[in-house]
């Protein structure tokens, strides 16, 4: 591997994806496959949610991955830091989704280093949209990847959330979003519990509760696993940056939720 230098008319600029296409075309996202070949079962990740709260945004995801009707993984991570001030969560075919996150993370850092300044939050959301769009041929064959993107906008001093569809279309959500197989149930739960100026504890509890309700209705979404000590993955993005909420804290919030359930005789 030599020093990657390009003639000035043919320079890939600050785009890492363009650079990869020049240097190693096989390293990018998977190419479109032959539609006539039946796709074997692949791992799928399921429900992820994002919601705004007083200091920024909270993102959470369950930990289950499925392969058809089989539980393939019990402790999969679906929430990732995209860079210092943003987070990305994935639902859909796990292989291409994780690869997309890796490419997205590298792209944001690459741009920041080459250009000397980070992309705006809107710019980051657009970048992710382009990656989802490039993935469309694979999505048509069943390998759908649908991310959620959220971050703290340093220019506007507020948390912002973007949801996506398979075509790469992205839409800014006012207060909350959820996607994946249990997304509908999770969204309803958040919708009922959300209010402006939500505190941190309250917000984490609402996110955990949304995933709990989703797991209650959707077989592909994993609920909290008390025996193995596996809890949903929760992260916050504030003006100070991305931060993972510790398992102990999530377990504590979940404990509060359980207590309330028991007191209500199984109804919340």
């Amino acid at each position: 591997m030599g020093l990657p230098l390009f003639p000035s008319g043919d320079d890939p600029g600050p785009s890492f994806a363009a650079l990869l296409r020049r240097t190693d075309p096989t390293a990018t996202l998977l190419p479109g496959l032959d539609a006539s070949v039946a796709m074997p079962p692949v791992r799928h990740g399921t429900t992820v949610v994002a919601l705004r709260y007083a200091d920024g945004v909270i993102m959470a995801g369950d930990r289950r991955a499925t392969e058809g009707h089989i539980i393939a993984h019990r402790a999969m991570e679906k929430v990732f830091p995209a860079d210092r001030h943003s987070a990305v969560a994935i639902a859909g075919a796990a292989g291409p989704a994780v690869q997309m996150v890796r490419l997205f993370q590298t792209q944001l850092e690459h741009y920041e280093k080459v250009e000397g300044v980070a992309l705006s939050l809107e710019g980051k959301a657009n970048q992710l949209g382009q990656m989802v769009r490039e993935h469309l041929p694979m999505a048509m064959q069943g390998l759908v990847v649908v991310p959620l993107f959220a971050g703290y906008d340093l220019a506007r001093n507020m948390g912002r959330i973007y949801s996506y569809d398979v075509t790469g279309g992205h839409y800014e959500e006012a207060d909350h979003a959820a996607t994946g197989s249990g997304g509908r149930d999770a969204r309803t739960t958040i919708k009922l519990g959300w209010h402006p100026g939500l505190g941190r504890d309250e917000g984490i509890e609402l996110a955990v509760r949304a995933l709990y309700e989703a797991a209650d209705e959707d077989s592909a979404t994993g609920g909290p696993d008390l025996i193995r000590g596996i809890f949903p993955m929760v992260a916050t993005v504030t003006v100070d940056g991305y931060d993972t909420v510790s398992d102990t804290e999530v377990a504590e919030r979940f404990g509060v939720l359980l207590e309330r359930r028991r007191a209500g005789g199984g109804q919340s």
């Binding site: 030599g2 020093l3 690459h110 300044v117």
Partner: protein, 248 residues
């Protein structure tokens, strides 16, 4: 038909070296040194946006002197090399030694085969881990590569600056002492350099993944002022340096 003149290869190389040295000497110098918490890089550079010191990867930094467009091209190539390698393999597999070798090969290639040598000197600094030591790779315009584990001086009049840094250098000095030592070595006895004339960055041994951090003007002037004078100017003591947002 005119016959091409014969020029002895020794003469060609000498002329090219002289040309490159002159170009580099026109610019200002740069000092990099290890300190107890990492690696410090100090460049004389009045510009706030045209950087001489930059981030390449998690624990690797780049510094260049000479012609800006030439070393900036090398910097971008370094970022590209590191990011591609880290993406294809893993983040741990990106190391400064291989990048320094690539720079050395490229500079050597240009020096021998092109009309004009590059008028640059570059430094690749890597913050050590348990497995690797802190390392400073100094690559000269003709591709000579040297590795230092204490300090490196780049640019014109390196000899006098090197003597000054060598005199000031103390093994395991802290950031403020190292900074003042580097700045006074750059300035010499007849000049003083303030925060506005300097570009300073560190590779700091913290818990974070990305070790590179720039020292902003406010933090820099406080550190340069030293403990005695900052006590007198109460403002400096009352307001700690705000974290530099884009480099935290």
């Amino acid at each position: 038909m005119t016959m091409p003149y014969y020029v002895a290869p020794e003469q060609v190389m000498k002329d090219r070296a002289e040309y490159a040295q002159k170009g580099i000497a026109r610019g200002r110098s740069l000092v990099a040194t290890v300190y107890d918490g990492g690696i410090l890089m100090v460049a004389e550079n009045p510009s706030r946006s045209l950087h001489k010191v930059s981030e390449i990867y998690d624990r690797i930094a780049f510094a260049g002197v000479g012609k800006y467009n030439e070393f900036d091209q090398l910097r971008v190539a370094g970022v590209r090399h590191a990011d591609t390698k880290g993406f294809a393999f893993s983040r741990e597999d990106v190391d400064a030694r291989s990048l320094a070798n690539l720079y050395a090969q490229f500079l050597g290639q240009v020096f021998t085969h092109e009309m004009k040598p590059l008028e640059v000197e570059v430094l690749v600094a890597e913050l050590g881990t348990e497995a690797r030591l802190d390392q400073l790779y100094h690559i000269a315009y003709e591709g000579t590569i040297t590795d230092e584990d204490r300090f490196a001086v780049l640019g014109g009049e390196t000899e006098t600056i090197t003597t000054r840094v060598a005199a000031a250098f103390v093994d395991g000095w802290d950031l403020d002492t190292a900074l003042r030592g580097a700045v006074s070595s750059l300035a010499g006895p007849d000049r003083t350099l303030g925060a506005d004339d300097l570009e300073v960055a560190v590779l700091a041994r913290t818990t974070g993944r990305r070790a590179f951090r720039r020292l902003g003007v406010v933090e820099l002037s406080e550190r340069l002022a030293g403990p005695r004078r900052s006590g007198r100017g109460s403002r400096a003591a009352a307001t700690p340096a705000p974290p530099d947002d884009d480099t935290k």
